[in-house]
Every structure is written in C-alpha cells, then in structure tokens.
Symmetry: C2
Subunit: 460 residues, 2 copies
C-alpha cells in the first residue's frame, strides 16, 4: 500500500485488454518487462509492512486489517473480516545438537502442532526409518524412548504432485511415532532445495494421542545425519523445542466484492489465503495468490461493470489445516457460489487450464481456452479440476471449479521456509498470472448461464 | 575418513598423470565424471564427522585431531599440531524484531568479536547510512544511542574482488559506530545471495573502543528494512545478542610432510585453513582447500619421491584474524620456505595462474603455464601473485608465491553462512582443482634451482 490508487479508473495496466499471441514475449505470453503494479503493490506491501501472518495470532489479525484497508482503497465493496475460532499454536525455542559421534549442531524447525520437550531439552538415540510405511511396520520396542528419523526425499516436479505422497513423513509420521512411544521425531524437510533452511508445516495427531516433539531438519542436515548413520554410528540427539498451544483464538476470512449488474446471479469467487507460516513473510505462500486474485478482479472490470458480482476470498488459517476455508463453507452453506478458482502455488507461470465442467459445458470450456491460449496456457480437457485448499465451499456445494495450474518446479524450494520472501517472486511471472486470471475472470463474470452446464445424463 | 587407505600405492586416482588437452571435458579440463576420491574423502569426512570448527574452541581442536589422523593414515610424516594462543569469541543467542512500524522479526547473526546486548536485549531507533564513508562523516549526535544500519550491497564477480571494498561495513563499520556512541550496528550481509541466511565474519575494534553489538542481516531482511526506510518510517529494533569472549585459549596449525630426496632444499608449502565459522560446516571455507592441497601433495608423488619436501599447512584461526598464519610465520621465521600456494576460495574451477616470479624466473613460469593450460587455466604474466591469508610466512620472508585463482562467482553466496555445507561442492570442479594443483606441485617439488630466479637488477 505504498502508493494507494483510489479509483478503478486510475489503475495502471501493463497488460493489453485484448491479447494477440504474436505480440507477446515468448516467455510470459506478455510484452518484455511486463509488470502488474496492482498485484505488486499488494504483494510488496503486505510482505514488507506486516511480514509473517501465523494463523490465529495478532500478526495474522494485523494482516487482515491491512488487506481490508487495501481492498477498500482499491474500490472493493462489502469488505469484511468474517471471524471464526482457531486452535492456535506458536513456535518457541528450537535447537538440536548431536552429541557423541558426529557431535555438531543441527538446523531444524518445529512442525506446526508439535509437542514440546522439557525446557532444558531431551536427549535420546536416533532410530532411522526410510519411509512412513517402514515406521508403521516397526515393533514399538524399536521406537519407544527414541527419536525417530525419516528421510524420504521429495523430487521437484512442475505440477508439485510429489508433495502428497512425499509429505507423509510430516503429516502422518509424528502421530505414528507417538503411538509407538517415541520420545520425538525428526524428518527430512519436505522440500526440494539444499539450503540450510528447514521446512515447517502442520502435522496432526490421532485422537487421544499426546503430541510429541516433531521437527524438520534442513536437507543438508538430513544428508549429514544419513551419512553418519551409513557409517553405522549410534547417533544421540539433544533436542530443545518449546512451542506452545494457545487454545482457541480468533482468526478470520477477509472478503470484498465488485458488484455485478445482476446481483441475483451467483458470484464468481476468486480465492487465496492470507495467513502464512511464521518463519518467512509468506510471499509465495500465499500473498502472491491474493495479489493475483485481487488484481485480476480489478482488471476484469476495467471495460465496464460485469454481469455477475466478483468476490475475493482471502482465507485465514489455511496453513494450520484449512480452518478458514471450512469456516467459510459452513457460514455460506446457503448461498450459492457460481464458480471458484484459487491461486495458492506461488507466482510461477500458469501453464495449464483445467475445469470440472469440460464435458458438461464444452462451450464455456472453449471460451476459457481461447482466453488463456495467448498466454501460453494449455487447455487440458482430460484433467478434472478439484480446486485448492481455499475452495471447500465449491467442493461442498458441488459447484464449478477452475484450476489455473502454475509452474511449481521450484516452489518447494521455498515452501514453509524463512526463504519465502518478496525477492523470490519474478514480477514478470506474477504479471502473467494476473493476465491469465484477468482473461478468465472477464469470461466468468460475464457468463449468463449455468457454469456446470447441463447435468451429464448417464442414461437416456 | 570413511574408507581409510593406508598406503600411497593404494590411492585411486581419477586423473591421468599426463594431461593432454584433447582428452578432457571442456568444462573441467577433465574427463566427464572426474572425481577425486582422496580430496572428497577429506572434505566429506571432516564436514560430516566434525562439522563446524570455530577458532579456539573444542570443535576446532577435534578438527585438528581428525585432520592429523587423516594425514597419518594417508602416509604423511612429521604430522604435528603446532599450538598458539588465541583470543576466543563464541556466539550466543541472536534475535531481532522491529517494533512499531513494520513490526516483524528480522534474521541476523552476530559478527565475530561483536559485543553483547543486555540479556533481555536493547531497543533503539535505526539510523541509516548508505556507506561506511557516510557513517564516518556523520555527526556523533546523529548516531549516539541509536542502532546504525549500513546497506552497501556487494556484486558477485568471478575473482571476488569486490569483497575488499564492499566488506568495509563489516570490518570498519562497527568500530566507527562505537566511537560515535551507537548502541549497536546492523549491516547488510557481505554476500551475493538472496537467502534468508546472514553472513557472519570478523569485525575489529580500534584500540580502547569497547565492542558494541554488531550483526549482519540476511539480504532479504536488509531489503525489507530498506523498503520500510524508503517509506519514511521511523524504525525501532529490539535486539538480543549474547556472544561471549572466552579469553585466550589454544588453537593450532596442523602440518604434515612428504619427504623429498634432498631435505636440505627449502620445502614446497601447500596451505589452507582448517577452522571455520560456527554456523556452517566449513565445506567451501575451507575444508575444500585443505582437501585440494593434501590430495595434490599425494598425487604429485605417485610417480616417485620428489626432489623437495612437500609440506601441507592447515592453518588454525584464520577466520578470526589470520592468527594461525601469523603464528606459523613467527615460529618458522628462521626456516626458509621455497615456494607457497594456498587454496581458500571454495572449490570453483581454477581459471588463472599468477606468480610473483614471472619476470625474475620466466623459465619456471613457462613450465607452470605448460602444466596448467591443459586444464583450461590461463597464465597471467601481467598479474603479480600476493598469496592468501595463510601465506604470511612467504610474504614475511619475501619468498615465491603462486596463486591458482578459482572461479568465485557464487562463493560469496555461501561464505560465512549456515549454507556452507558439503552439498555445495561440485565433485567435478573439486577434481579439476586437484588436477591443477597436482600438476603445479609436481613441477615445484622437482625444481632444483631458486624459485624466484635471479634477483631483478634495476641497474647494471
């Protein structure tokens, strides 16, 4: 919010409203030097002025207040902070040191919802498992009183698809280790970089299981532990982790609208999440997404008021378990949403269009395809969009969903680390995202009929 | 020391003893997949098994013991740890948070020899200076009681030459700030990366000046501070730094020799430093250098005993002020060293040969040039070698010096950060270093006459 621009008419738009493929830079589908000042202003502003926005904390609340002010200044209406309650966890001290063989400090960070050690720490032997399944199969006697280590490195892929399976050491590992009586668990970071910056992220505990200390080593530290274990050394770790559960505190979903000419039509929902992990400033995860969604909403109406209302949803408390997305769906269960799309995978180039109405509404799919192809985006009729973390409401309603897939090859280098800062966003790539979202939003907000099209009849 | 190999004869050598340019990969001057198992064994071993080796500490002592064992196992003789006393400083807690405008945590690390804050920290306003010279020119009234910030970003260059001038905020900034009554000083890291990993490094204090808290911000944090300052905000920092001076403790220089046929001839000295900063494992700074020097010494004698003795010097306490190098020069003032070379700039490809006897001993210079050109190394007769940090003894004696310049374009991304770990070394580039050093050492260790050549007579 460095240079507020108060009226939509004053918006500077680096991207021509009518795209012609041959006019654009081959890399971004844009002219060289393309820059979207609106999206950048949001992204630069919130990361610089607010910084980290951990779910349920005062930092997140300051982020919501900042975002509401920004939306109002940009001309959004019905701007609101829709509150919900959230089980809040905050990080404490985190230190680890191998003692005995390989004695040296290790860099790690607590996983979200990790239990705490004693204030003075715990000391225990490390027991290694290659995968979560190996841990699951282990005799509790092998695990009890020890600190579990799971490696299981994740590969970088453009679509980020390995995150699901290779994220299991973080999501399920701690609960399984706790059930077997482990004193703690350390995992290799779920990340694709080799920086000395561990990746946090939420874990969860089966009902009735007491949280144990759970942390992620940076990848170079995991490498070192594995090299020592390969030597046949018995490794002993001193571990201090002092996170705290604060109980239920308030979080919220920030919304804002650009009113359509026919408010009786279900709105177009552009979603992202505003909270971030506490170690970075949440630039790629997910201030970029909110910047893209908000900027696209504004650009899409520069030619005139749209038919349908466009609503942005900046969800709260996504990182800790999609709390905001679920609260929004519950609170708006009786309000039909027309179509939803979400940006929550950084600011890499959009490369693929997917919908869940390709078969049922081929005319709309073709219209969207025509809108995005000039930006180098491939329509993928064979893939059914499922939406991201902040689109629970569309999944719950069985509504129309569009996924504009971003290039995430390097996303998991930064994801949930201290390195998630403004300098990691390429302004040209951000501008391509805005251009594609603008083109798609313009089609959707002026679409009169059903988004899903006629229901597919399986029988005559 | 994973797989000790006890006899020189058993050494595996990936690099042919006679190099022919056309046989080698264009990138490294080596066959594709070239790998030097000896250098890698040293580098992998000490970084994995010992880790950080801060000058004057028990960690450094364990590093010396490890290195001596390695040298003995590899067949070096006269292996010794030559002790000297050292003013030792150790890191404590380090935390910083902007309060008020831009409230958020900042990632920083204490500079070596930084003073401490109160245990509960200090809170003061930030006052910005673009350069050290601006700080030098400032009225003390502008500075007193405040925390000085200096930006002054450093550019990445192949020869690393910007480190001298652009390192001045770290070297001189704290002393000047202290003299003007500052409560503390934070600088932009002297580094060329944009990782959230600050660069430590020694500062120094003018005589009679009491150390103040002095720290480096990571580059993304410095960017954020500068963006906030550009908005005209008054910034207030809460700073906790609790390093300690331990007084004089023992450090040491590790040496080892391969005896020449004529021990009366002054030896060839291959130098590096064994200590490292405490945040990384000192892989590029400077375990690589010791790995290269030691491996080259071994490879250079595979064809038979050399004429001259080859000595390796793994200096101690380089990072904190070249203490080991100076102690070595003092202790050996009466022993003539024939020629010295040092590796202390990572493990990037060697690209240039420099000596300080190009004019006085053109025949030897030509012989060395012929030896390195096959590896893609350019002889630079116009540049006079001055040696690195660990060659004080050659400079003090006015002896012969060779610089084998490494490509350091990305060296200052890692330098003095937690990211200085094994995974950052390219085995192929390390092997090229060993090959070039081997070729040079073979020439030097079999050179009978003076290294400097006839003194240059300015008058008849």
């Amino acid at each position: 919010m460095k240079k507020p621009i108060l009226a939509l008419a004053a918006l500077s738009l680096a991207i021509p409203a009518t795209a012609a493929a041959q006019r654009y830079d081959h890399r971004y589908g844009l002219e060289p030097g393309a820059h979207d000042e609106v999206a950048w202003d949001f992204l630069e502003g919130i990361t610089t002025e607010i910084g980290p926005r951990l779910a349920g904390t005062e930092d997140e609340a300051r982020g919501r207040a900042w975002a509401m002010e920004w939306l109002i200044e940009r001309g959004f209406v019905n701007v609101a902070d829709e509150p919900f309650m959230h089980n809040t966890w905050v990080r404490g001290e985190e230190r680890a040191r191998l003692v005995g063989a390989g004695a040296q400090p290790l860099v790690l960070t607590a996983l979200g919802y990790s239990g705490a050690t004693l204030a003075e720490g715990i000391t225990a032997e490390i027991v290694q498992f290659a995968t979560v399944n190996d841990l699951r199969a282990a005799d509790p006697a092998e695990v009890a009183g020890k600190i579990v280590y799971i490696g299981n490195p994740m590969q970088a892929t453009q679509d980020g698809s390995h995150y699901g399976m290779f994220g299991s050491p973080r999501r399920q590992g701690p609960g399984i280790a706790a059930q077997k009586g482990a004193a703690g668990i350390i995992i290799r970071s779920i990340g694709t970089d080799n920086d000395r910056l561990p990746h946090t992220g939420a874990t969860s505990w089966p009902d009735g299981v007491e949280p144990i200390p759970a942390a992620a080593l940076s990848n170079p530290d995991a490498d070192n532990v594995e090299r020592l274990l390969e030597r046949g050394e018995t490794l002993t770790l001193e571990l201090v982790l002092t996170p705290q559960f604060l109980g239920m505190t308030q979080s919220g979903n920030v919304v804002g609208e650009i009113m359509g000419r026919d408010p009786s039509l279900p709105p177009v929902l552009l979603a992202c999440h505003l909270d971030s992990w506490d170690n970075g400033t949440g630039a790629v995860d997910d201030a970029s997404g909110c910047a893209i969604a908000a900027s696209a909403a504004l650009h899409a109406v520069e030619d005139g008021q749209p038919l349908r209302t466009i609503r942005v949803l900046f969800a709260g408390a996504e990182e800790t378990g999609l709390w905001g997305s679920r609260a929004y769906s519950e609170a708006h269960a009786d309000e039909e949403i027309g179509v939803g799309l979400e940006s929550d995978f950084g600011a890499g180039l959009i490369w693929r269009l997917e919908t869940n109405f390709t078969q049922s509404n081929p005319a709309l799919f073709q219209q969207l395809a025509d809108a995005v192809i000039p930006y180098g985006v491939l329509p993928a009729p064979q893939i059914t969009a499922t939406g991201g973390a902040d689109l629970n409401i569309l999944r719950d309603q069985g509504g129309a969903i569009i996924d504009l897939q971003q290039d995430g090859l390097r996303y998991f280098d930064l994801h949930h680390t201290a390195n998630d800062t403004l300098d990691k966003v390429d302004p040209g790539e951000l501008a391509q995202n805005v251009a594609v979202w603008t083109a798609v939003t313009r089609v959707l907000a002026n679409h009169r009929g059903s988004f899903l099209g006629a229901p597919i009849m399986l029988e005559e």
